[in-house]
């Protein structure tokens, strides 16, 4: 049995980490519209964007930054639309990631 390591507050590092990860998951759950659970993540995750994002989101997020900037400045694209698209794609990048290992704290094998 490994020794229990605690930080000054008395919490174990596993508790602190679980708390941060819970916070991360909470921020992901704020996505609108929400991303569905993703199963069968391929070795190369890039094609997942085609499967889970809208055509508009794909178009925006695959526009080069030097092309996005003038469109934003002219108001051809709204900052809200661009931000929403990148929020969802960043969420997908993380979700494509859903923990696949058993997350029972008892599992220390």
């Amino acid at each position: 049995m490994a020794a229990t390591v605690t930080i000054p507050s008395g919490a174990t590092w596993q508790e602190v980490a679980a708390d941060r990860q819970k916070r991360r998951d909470a921020t992901l759950s704020l996505l609108e519209p929400p991303l569905p659970p993703i199963e069968d993540i391929p070795l190369n995750t890039i094609p997942l964007a085609r499967k889970f994002l809208t055509a508009d989101e794909i178009k925006i997020t695959e526009t080069l930054v030097e092309d996005l900037v003038p469109q934003l400045a002219k108001g051809e694209l709204s900052s809200v639309a661009v931000t929403k698209a990148f929020l969802r794609r960043a969420g997908l990048a993380q979700k494509a990631v859903c923990p696949i290992f058993p997350s029972s704290p008892a599992d220390t094998s």
């Binding site: 049995m1 490994a2 930080i7 507050s9 596993q14 602190v16 980490a17 679980a18 708390d19 941060r20 990860q21 916070r23 991360r24 921020t27 704020l30 996505l31 609108e32 199963e39 069968d40 993540i41 391929p42 070795l43 190369n44 995750t45 890039i46 964007a49 997020t61 526009t63 080069l64 930054v65 996005l68 900037v69 934003l72 400045a73 108001g75 694209l77 709204s78 900052s79 809200v80 661009v82 931000t83 929403k84 990148f86 929020l87 794609r89 960043a90 969420g91 990048a93 993380q94 494509a96 990631v97 923990p99 696949i100 290992f101 997350s103 704290p105 008892a106 599992d107 220390t108 094998s109």
Partner: protein, 181 residues
């Protein structure tokens, strides 16, 4: 078997959309952009202090330290009109060409050897092949920009921490060193 990319530490949807709405209203009212990067969402490595958010350097014992202000680079980018919408992973202590920490994900073999509890979260991996590393220490940025979850990301580099993830994910990088030769 599927693997995770595990590249972000938190999304910032509320503050980002509020900022984006403000910028849209500004453009509509003043008929000109607020700055050269008006409305552009950019990703920021967790290493870089963001006002009111955790600033832990990847250390479990530093969780709860909160940045009092935005880092200088963020103030500059904010004035230029950027929107901050996501924070990306960093390795514990930052001095690592890999992006693993006890907080957000570690290397599975290390976990097994040290018999740590399995939280199910693992080291940041490469979106092009999740059996490979995204590098580090700005590996969260590398994986995120490689996936196009971001069009422009801010990392930090002393000994290759921007260059290594950029090389691993085929991205251009600008390491602005304090004393570049």
């Amino acid at each position: 078997m599927t693997e995770q990319t595990n590249c972000i530490t938190e999304l910032l949807p509320q503050r980002a959309l509020e900022r984006a709405a403000y910028l849209d209203a500004y453009l509509a009212e003043h008929k000109k952009p607020i700055g050269p990067l008006h409305g552009l969402p950019i990703s920021v490595k967790e290493h870089i202090g963001m006002k009111g958010l955790d600033w832990n350097g990847g250390f479990v014992s530093w969780v709860g330290k909160v940045a009092k202000d935005d880092a200088h680079i963020l103030s500059i980018l904010w004035s230029a009109g950027c929107v901050f919408y996501v924070r990306s992973t960093q390795p514990q202590s930052l001095m690592h060409l890999e992006t693993s920490s006890n907080l957000y994900g570690y290397v599975e073999e290390v976990r097994r050897v040290l018999r740590w509890a399995n939280t199910g979260y693992r080291v940041t991996t490469n979106p092009f092949n999740t059996t490979l590393t995204a590098g580090g220490s700005s590996g969260g940025e590398g994986a995120l920009v490689g996936f196009r979850g971001s069009c422009l990301g801010i990392g930090t580099d002393i000994g290759g921490s921007i260059r290594s993830p950029a090389a691993n994910t085929g991205l251009p990088a600008i390491p602005r060193l304090l004393s570049s030769s």
